[in-house]
Amino acid sequence: MISGIAGAVGILIKVVADAMGEPVADVQKRVLARIEADAADPTDETDTEAAAIDADLPSG
């Protein structure tokens, strides 16, 4: 009976852990990698579009 309860608790842990999503270590690595990438190049699609508009504006 005890091992049955312990098994059920194990399954419960797994279910709760799965429900809580991706492991934090993976999230942390991804967040830090993106911060580094942003620091190296903070631009995004809006910069490309701004440059395209500026090229079409009348000079002066």
Partner: protein, 224 residues
């Protein structure tokens, strides 16, 4: 079976059961990020494996006992109590801050993508209606170009700084074993995204809901 053998199997079942709980709890804590020392998935897997092995040993030992002689320590209730406590502590630990940061980066990228897409559509419309290098084109695209400027020069730097500062605070807190006030630190980023969506979200048309949904995933951070 002699009394000595029964006692031996009772002890083995109890200790193996408790060891299984310990290994399982360590694996669960590590998986949830509450134990900073064990930062890799492989550690979780090792402890999960040890938990399974000791669980099997506990079950085998308890099966050797006569049904009238179960182990005396109530391993099941103790397990439930310990693990419920562990999961509650784990859920409130560093994971929330990193997940909020991840959600903030996603909301920022989605906002930039939708803004660029909306402005590109307007750009094409203005170009088609007025040609390029004309005053009429400049007037047509003026508000959208200003929206880009407010994003590039004001909102995005605030968002990126707030994200970087929050991440640094979380890392420092991990190192010294203290709690970081990441909600306050991440607030400027959440507010800058929120204000941007309020200012030019109407350009996004039906895509605004997606950005608002991404914003709602920044748990615990509200922008009044």
């Amino acid at each position: 079976m002699t009394d000595k053998q029964i006692k031996r199997y009772q002890r083995l079942s109890q200790f193996a059961g408790l060891a299984m709980l310990l290994f399982g709890a360590v694996a669960a804590f590590d998986w949830l990020g509450a134990i900073v020392v064990f930062g890799t998935v492989s550690v979780t897997q090792i402890f999960t494996g040890l938990g399974v092995l000791t669980g099997v040993l506990s079950r085998w030992a308890s099966q050797q006992l006569p049904s009238a002689k179960p182990p005396s320590i109530p391993v099941g209730p103790v397990a439930i109590l310990l693990l419920a406590l562990g999961l509650m502590v784990s859920a409130g630990c560093k994971g929330a801050g990193w997940r909020a940061l991840d959600a903030t980066q996603n909301a920022r990228d989605l906002t930039a993508k939708q803004l660029a897409s909306a402005v590109a559509t307007k750009h094409a419309e203005c170009k088609k209606a007025h040609g390029v290098k004309t005053e009429a084109f400049a007037a047509c695209i003026k508000k959208h170009r200003a929206a880009l400027d407010s994003w590039i020069k004001i909102a995005r730097p605030v968002i990126n700084d707030s994200i970087a500062i929050t991440a640094a605070a979380l890392q420092i807190a991990d190192k010294v074993g203290k709690k970081a006030n990441w909600i306050d630190l991440l607030k400027p980023a959440a507010c800058a995204i929120s204000r941007s969506v309020k200012a030019f979200g109407h350009y996004f048309a039906d895509k605004a809901a997606g950005v608002l949904s991404a914003l709602s995933l920044i748990d615990g951070v509200t922008c009044e």
